[in-house]
């Protein structure tokens, strides 16, 4: 199976090159890092407003609806989303 052996050999070369690049990065002094000091990831908590985000409620009182009425007639919306 000479062809398969050749493919494996190429893969080895690729791994070796990647490893060499990684080793070079590892030994780079921190003060030469152009990105600056490492900052650990932070968890940011943001609040969603599901009643607005899912388009489940009326946006404007004039919105359409069946029987020639308005959105109000369909759903009795109390919250406006605009």
């Amino acid at each position: 199976m000479p062809q398969r052996r050749m493919q494996l050999a190429r893969y080895d070369v690729w791994i070796t090159e990647k490893k060499t690049m990684k080793e070079e990065q590892d030994i780079q002094p921190l003060d030469q890092d152009p990105k600056g000091a490492y900052e650990p990831p932070k968890v940011i908590r943001v609040s969603l407003r599901p009643e607005e985000a899912v388009l489940g409620h009326c946006k404007v009182t004039g919105a359409g609806g069946p029987v020639g009425g308005s959105c109000v007639s369909v759903m009795a919306c109390k919250t406006l989303g605009s």
């Binding site: 932070k42 940011i44 943001v46 609040s47 969603l48 407003r49 599901p50 009643e51 607005e52 985000a53 899912v54 388009l55 489940g56 409620h57 009326c58 946006k59 404007v60 919105a63 359409g64 609806g65 069946p66 029987v67 020639g68 959105c71 007639s73 369909v74 759903m75 009795a76 919250t79 406006l80 989303g81 605009s82």
Partner: protein, 311 residues
């Protein structure tokens, strides 16, 4: 001399009569064309705000056949999402089905929309039991038009956000985001009189990439100020609106900005793939466009503060 958008609004406006009832209807929002084709005796009539978005009837990016149905049933297929309001989404073998019902009308759906998996074509069924079949109808009335838009955008095309979009006299695009009550329509009114200013919408803006740059597009879905325009503008600044005692800007790092943008976006919450694309898209927007919290007072000084910062 440049004219203000208010001056423009004082011209004779397009009315539903200029966009009459028909069997075919096409309009374009955010570069995406909706093409509606009525079947049988059904006639289509758009909402007034859509007149400015009308394009020549033909095939669209989203092609929809519309017809009456004698009655509709709650689907028995797998429920993917219930909005808590008018609509629910169900999985179908080759796509999706939206079902619309209201407790005020009983437990029978008044409308259904079937879409293929890529939101390129579909069918809308309106129940004769709940509509006046003698009158033309707009079958994509809120929220279906926006639902179709956000699902199509989530297929790698963009994001709809809760915001007012303004292009200033120098062509710079400002996006002011906020939940209800944050001051979007107030902000739109403050800019309305200024010469050369274009306001794209005071409530819903579509963000897309064009030639490697983030652009914002107006929509017909307006807020209290009633401003809706099919214009577009390249985006140069993003502001999260908050009421304040003075005008102040607080720049945000991209990660925080992307998170805040997400909370003010309309997302396909039932779809991991859709949410993944939306997050990636907003991350790119936040890295390419400066974003800040904008505490403002509702007078002319807020406009001056933005103009000074961008000068």
């Amino acid at each position: 001399m440049q004219e203000s958008q208010k001056t423009f609004k004082q011209r004779p406006e397009l009315t539903p009569e200029s966009f009459p009832s028909a069997t075919h209807l096409s309009y374009q929002i955010g570069g995406i064309t909706f093409a509606l084709h009525a079947e049988g005796d059904l006639l289509l009539s758009p909402e007034r705000e859509l007149a400015a978005f009308a394009v020549r009837p033909g095939s669209g990016d989203i092609d929809l056949q519309v017809s009456w149905a004698d009655s509709l049933k709650v689907p028995s297929s797998t429920l993917l999402f219930h909005s808590g309001g008018l609509w629910s989404l169900f999985a179908e073998p080759n796509g999706y089905r939206f079902s619309f019902l209201s407790p005020l009308l009983g437990m029978t759906p008044y409308k259904e929309a079937w879409l293929d998996s890529e939101f390129r074509s579909g069918r809308v069924l309106l129940s004769r039991r709940f509509f006046d079949t003698e009158r033309p109808v707009y079958p994509l009335e809120y929220p279906l038009d926006e639902l179709l838009m956000i699902h199509r955008l989530s297929r790698g095309e963009g994001v709809e956000v809760h915001a007012v979009g303004i292009s200033d006299e120098n062509g710079r695009g400002h996006l002011f985001l906020g939940h209800s009550g944050a001051g979007k329509s107030t902000t739109a009114r403050l800019w309305l009189d200024r010469p050369g200013v274009r306001i794209l919408s005071d409530d819903r803006i579509i963000l897309r990439l064009r030639d490697g740059q983030v652009w914002m597009y107006g929509t017909p879905w307006h807020g209290d100020a009633g401003i809706a325009s099919p214009d577009s503008a390249a985006l140069t600044g993003i502001y999260l609106l908050e009421h304040g005692n003075s005008n102040e800007q607080f720049p945000l790092p991209p990660g925080r900005a992307a998170a805040e943008l997400f909370t003010r976006s309309f997302v396909t919450h039932h779809s991991g793939e859709g949410i993944r694309f939306t997050l990636e898209f907003l991350d790119r927007v936040a890295r390419e466009v400066p974003c800040s919290i904008f505490k403002f007072v509702p007078d002319e000084s807020a406009v001056e503060a933005i103009c000074r910062a961008g000068a």
